[in-house]
Symmetry: C2
């Protein structure tokens, strides 16, 4: 869980980073930024801020913000009915992102959140800078992280059903509880 004050501060910070990255958003959009702690109550290290720009029955476009030193936990997008699962392209707009995908272990620059080796199993490292992009086929496990720079990126995808995403960390709950 996070407090309402933590939520407001993360939302304000994310909106500022998005605008500094050159992406024009409305105040209504800034106020709609979702602050996600994945139920881990450790937002400074594990979490993501999500601004949904497009969400139809067919496609989804989001701006994702990682605050400095934040990690989006390892997850994948499973099949749902006739849908083979979400296919996603992430394009970096600002900051450096360390992206982890299936393949040979080349883990050098990232960090594993303390005591969570079992929750971050993909160790093929892709260092991404602004205008770099990566396409993830449905079902492919991935996690990503930033350091001091923080990061702003687009996620372009087929229909998003965030509540059905699957995570390696069994403690994760996709709905963030906010308390006063």
């Amino acid at each position: 869980m996070i407090t309402r004050a933590e939520q407001a501060e993360a939302q304000r910070h994310a909106a500022e980073m998005i605008r500094r990255a050159g992406i024009t958003i409305t105040d209504a959009e800034a106020n709609s930024i979702e602050v996600v702690d994945f139920g881990l109550s450790n937002l400074d290290r594990e979490g993501v801020q999500v601004l949904t720009l497009v969400q139809t029955e067919r496609i989804s476009v989001k701006v994702l913000v990682l605050l400095p030193n934040q990690t989006e936990p390892e997850h994948w997008h499973p099949p749902v009915g006739n849908d083979p699962g979400k296919e996603e392209t992430v394009r970096i707009i600002a900051g450096t992102v360390y992206f982890y995908i299936p393949g040979e272990d080349t883990f050098i620059k990232g960090f594993i959140v303390e005591g969570k080796d079992d929750c971050y199993t993909m160790r093929k490292e892709v260092v991404m800078q602004p205008s770099d992009q990566i396409t993830l086929a449905s079902g492919k496990k991935h996690w990503f992280q930033t350091r001091e720079s923080g990061a702003v990126m687009y996620s372009f995808s087929t229909i998003a059903r965030d509540a059905l995403d699957q995570f390696t960390d069994p403690k994760i709950i996709r709905i963030t509880e906010v308390v006063d």
Copy 2:
């Protein structure tokens, strides 16, 4: 048709507008910008510049540039096999765009290319500024235009099959011929 020099100049101008709009692109991307005259040989008035960022079997993301006073001709995205046709969300990044869709005639601010009343039949006008966006269901006719400002916008969509788009103007050919 357009000359190689016209193509190069439109590509250069479009890349400059994209970058001025705050969108970071690589030189390879700038050089990949497609200049489309729709076979009308009237690029100053009817045409579009297209930078494809994502093109998979499921989704497509493009940056569209209208040079000052340029119009993208009226068209729609028909069904293809099991696909009901391309669904598209256009989000304005820079400039003012006059967007025309089915509905009551509210045409005020746009202009119809001389002698082409029959080729621009949708007359419900939507004036769009940066951060405004519109979602077009598959099959829905649309055209759009800019004035002195020129315009840069994203097109987020399901799979694009540009060669199968249908146009109101029977003279249109989707493949642009470039001559020396």
